[in-house]
């Protein structure tokens, strides 16, 4: 992969991967970071861990650049891409980091906040959420990655499906070979085939 520098739409290119604790957000950001680093880019990732398994909002800031002195926190309004594992989290991130230029890839499976479960707050309708997100972004893709992961037998593949989908959007240089080389280093060998399947299923969700 030569010429990766020119493959980025901006320098630094700022991505936010967001979701709820336990959704595999951290693994996804490390995976994407390694895939982009393999192409000669400097990577900076900032993660919020503390609430990671405890139902709170979790966000990873991932930046790819020719610079090597980037802040692990993206400045306000400067995200180029938001990958959201949960739709209300996409809105929450758009509020601080979005702009007219931002691209959004959003998994539509809701995870109800405690206030919603208890009845103190309302969870918005899916169509309404899509409308808000579309209105706040340059391009938005919506998909049901969790359902696809459950068809594969385990919701744990949701994040890999999203990475596959992201590769199909073409906003970043993320091809299947780089995914395969990177995931091979990150997971035990008996899990590679299933991860490749998840990546491909994700691609199909965008291409179809």
């Amino acid at each position: 992969m030569n010429g990766s520098m020119t493959a980025l739409a901006a320098d630094p290119y700022n991505m936010i991967i967001t979701g709820v604790g336990g959704q595999g957000n951290v693994l996804a950001s490390r995976l994407l970071g390694n895939m982009l680093m393999a192409q000669g880019l400097n990577i900076t990732i900032g993660e919020t861990f503390g609430a990671s398994q405890r139902g709170g909002s979790v966000m990873s800031h991932l930046r790819a650049s020719t610079f090597n002195d980037l802040s692990p926190q993206i400045p306000k309004g400067r995200a180029h891409l938001i990958v959201s594992l949960e739709p209300t989290e996409a809105l929450r991130v758009l509020k601080d980091y979005g702009s007219e230029q931002v691209h959004v890839l959003c998994n539509m499976r809701p995870i109800h906040a405690i206030a919603v479960i208890s009845g103190e707050a309302q969870y918005p309708e899916a169509e309404q959420l899509k409308g808000w997100i579309t209105d706040l972004s340059h391009t938005a893709w919506f998909l049901n990655a969790t359902e696809t992961a459950m068809e594969m037998g385990n919701p744990i593949f949701t994040n890999i499906i999203l990475v596959g989908a992201l590769s199909a959007t073409g906003v970043l240089p993320l091809d299947r070979d780089i995914f395969e080389a990177t995931i091979t280093r990150m997971v035990p060998s008996d899990k590679i085939a299933k991860n490749l399947e998840a990546f491909d299923r994700g691609k199909e969700l965008i291409e179809s």
Binding site: T48, G50, Q53, G55, A115, L129
Partner: protein, 644 residues
């Protein structure tokens, strides 16, 4: 083989700051590492434990931070390089020994890495460890990026041996838990030998007894070491200046704030107006180096987190140098240009710097910002933290809360540090009424438990996790037992240090490196203190509540209830359901039931969903962990469990 020790010198890796720190310690040739788990520090010891066999290291999770520092110090006294790691709170715990160690000095390199948590992202305070360096008079280094995190740790060992003192390298959450490119260095050969020489001349630091007296003499030596450190720091490559030779504003910064500052200058396109002096050696400051840069500008902005530590040090130097460098105008925390609480980020630095430079900065158009704010307000309901689905603590606090309600005497629970601190929040039924340091729940309860003669007749409870029990509850319980404090200590034993990622503790049969070790039995320890002990499965709500009611009614000194059930995230439990749960829609009466949706409105497990359309509760199959507890709380019997 762990990727931490793979790869040749010069290769690049995407390392988390904590991995970079661990790698730096390996490149420095450490033999021993000890620490106590605490976010954001835990991955340093975890990563070292993974490579302990192939790198011939001894790595342990110590019972608490004071002991961790003592263990690491012993290695230094025996001629081995050692690393000690903890979060900011840990330095408070270790500080008693720390003060003495700074006085006695060290032999082989000894480095303390505290990881502070500005903004308290995973803490209940944003305390700063930097002040301990000044307080106990040891050198302090603060890495400004990921590569430096590795390099500085390696250098800290050299410095420690040059000065024969402990050296502190302070990280923060956004370095420890952030990742960036790191270029690998060489790993030295292993095979160091330990020997403690102790029969030399008493004042011989390398051969005599290790002691901090004669105090005045040793204290003088200690201050001479700090002086020498300042001299060495004059030439340190970790202190850098970037910007024009005559900037309008000199921005002085350290740590992760270095990255925020660079970003802020770029965002404001102020590269020609602002110079950034990044200090890596923040205590003691090298005076001549700082003086040279103070001469560059009359307006100084200091950016750091959390308290004005660097700011104060620079101002002292500037006051001393005023006759030669003139009067400077300072902006920073003391005048409110930079907030003195909370975490920094590029935006906060932009805000402060823009004010000093007189620039107006808008990150996005006002119309977009307004639209986004409104959508998020209506579309993104706030997410409170909650106990994980299947967490035994949700069940425990349900029982504790109910027992206290049934008792009617306004009993209360003194809280403690761990996942179960969440019981301060509605999701834990707001059961905790005090929350301080590790072990303080039992210590504070011990005090409350002595107030009967002053008319305090409320039941007093304390909670403790299993790791916390060994860390600091044991002395508090000994105190309560010895003095006969009327308290009930509930040990929430989920068999691991779950809050920080399931590190082993003395109650378990494996150590950090996975080796079989002796497990200590909490029940027998409590019994040895002469305390009545009961044990229940917190998933058995009825038995737990009955035991609790009985224990809080007893008026004979302290007693203990151990609620033992594996953490839902433990390797043994994770992803394995005990029950398949389902809701019989015809039985669930929802809002019309006398319970008025007890399961979702009050019990609040995230594995349950309220179906607005059908007006019944539902199980969320993606989230439910299959613990079966909700079946016990449904008064209609609509939630049913089926053993897997």
């Amino acid at each position: 083989m762990s990727y931490l020790v793979q790869g040749k010198k010069g290769e690049q890796r995407l390392f988390m700051g904590n991995e970079a720190i661990a790698r730096g310690a390996l490149e420095a040739g450490i033999s021993v590492a000890a620490g106590y788990p605490g976010t954001p520090s835990s991955e340093i010891i975890e990563n070292l434990a993974k490579v302990s066999k192939e790198r011939h290291l001894y790595v342990e999770w110590s019972v608490n931070e004071k002991v961790a520092l003592e263990v690491a110090a012993a290695a230094s006294f025996a001629g081995l390089r050692a690393l000690c790691v903890m979060k900011q709170n840990g330095v408070n715990v270790a500080s008693d020994f720390l003060l003495h160690l700074a006085g006695s000095g060290t032999r082989a390199g000894l480095v303390l890495v505290p990881c502070d948590d500005p903004g308290a992202l995973s803490s209940v305070n944003e305390g700063e460890s930097r002040h301990f360096a000044r307080l106990v008079e040891i050198p302090l280094l603060e890495p400004g990026n990921f590569q430096e995190a590795k390099e500085m740790v390696r250098y800290a060992f050299t410095l420690s041996e040059e000065l024969r003192t402990l050296v502190m390298v302070r990280s923060v959450t956004r370095l420890s838990h952030a990742s960036g490119n790191v270029t690998l260095g060489e790993l030295p050969p292993t095979g160091s030998k330990a020997y403690f020489k102790h029969d030399g001349f008493i004042l011989d630091q390398m051969e005599g007894a290790v002691i901090s007296s004669p105090v005045e003499y040793k204290h003088t030596l200690q201050q001479e070491r700090v002086q020498k450190a300042a001299e060495l720091f004059e030439e340190s490559p970790f202190n850098t200046y970037c910007g024009p030779p005559d900037p309008e504003v000199l921005l002085i910064t350290s740590s992760a704030c270095n990255l925020y500052s660079k970003e802020a200058v770029r965002l404001l396109q102020a590269e020609s107006r602002v110079g950034i002096l990044k200090m890596g050696t923040t205590w003691p400051l090298p005076p001549r180096f700082v003086e040279r840069h103070l001469r560059m500008a009359d307006t100084i902005l200091i950016v750091e987190e959390v308290l004005p530590f660097l700011e104060e040090s620079v101002k002292i130097l500037a006051a001393e140098l005023a006759p030669t460098i003139g009067v400077k105008t300072f902006y920073g925390k003391r005048d409110g240009t930079i907030p003195a609480t909370g975490e920094m980020n590029p935006d906060r630095v932009v805000q402060g710097l823009a004010r000093v430079l007189g620039i107006d900065y808008q990150p996005v158009s006002e119309s977009y910002a307004q639209k986004a704010l409104e959508s998020a307000f209506f579309g993104a309901p706030e997410r409170d933290l909650t106990f994980c689905p299947g967490c035994p603590h949700r069940a425990s606090f349900w029982s504790i809360h109910n027992a206290l309600q049934l008792d009617h005497r306004q009993g209360f629970v003194c809280g403690d540090i761990g996942c179960y601190s969440l019981a301060m929040r509605p999701t834990g039924y707001e059961t905790l009424k005090t929350l301080h340091a590790m072990g303080s729940g039992t210590g504070v309860a011990s005090g409350f438990g002595m107030l009967r003669e002053f008319g305090l007749d409320q039941p007093v409870l304390a909670v403790s996790g299993d790791s916390t029990f060994f860390h600091a509850v044991m002395p508090a319980l000994a105190n309560a037992a010895h003095h006969g404090a009327n308290i009930t200590v509930v040990v929430l034993d989920n068999s691991g240090t779950a809050m920080t990622g399931f590190q082993p503790h003395p109650g378990l049969t494996v150590d950090a490196a996975g080796k079989a070790v002796q497990a200590l039995d909490i029940r027998r320890i409590c019994e040895a203190m002469g305390v009545e002990v009961r044990q229940c499965d917190p998933f058995d709500l009825a038995a737990t509540q009955a035991a609790l009611l009985e224990l809080i009614s007893s008026r004979q000194g302290p007693n203990v209830l151990i609620l033992k059930q594996l953490c839902a995230l433990s390797p043994e439990r994770k992803g394995k359901r005990r029950f398949n749960m389902h809701i019989v829609e015809t039985i669930c009466m929802g809002e019309n039931c006398g319970c008025n949706r007890l399961c979702t409105r009050v019990f609040k497990c995230p594995g349950l969903i309220w179906d607005k359309v059908k007006k019944v509760s539902r199980i969320d199959d993606v989230i439910c962990a299959g613990c079966g507890v909700c079946a016990s709380i449904c008064p209609a019997g609509a939630i049913q469990k089926e053993a897997v």
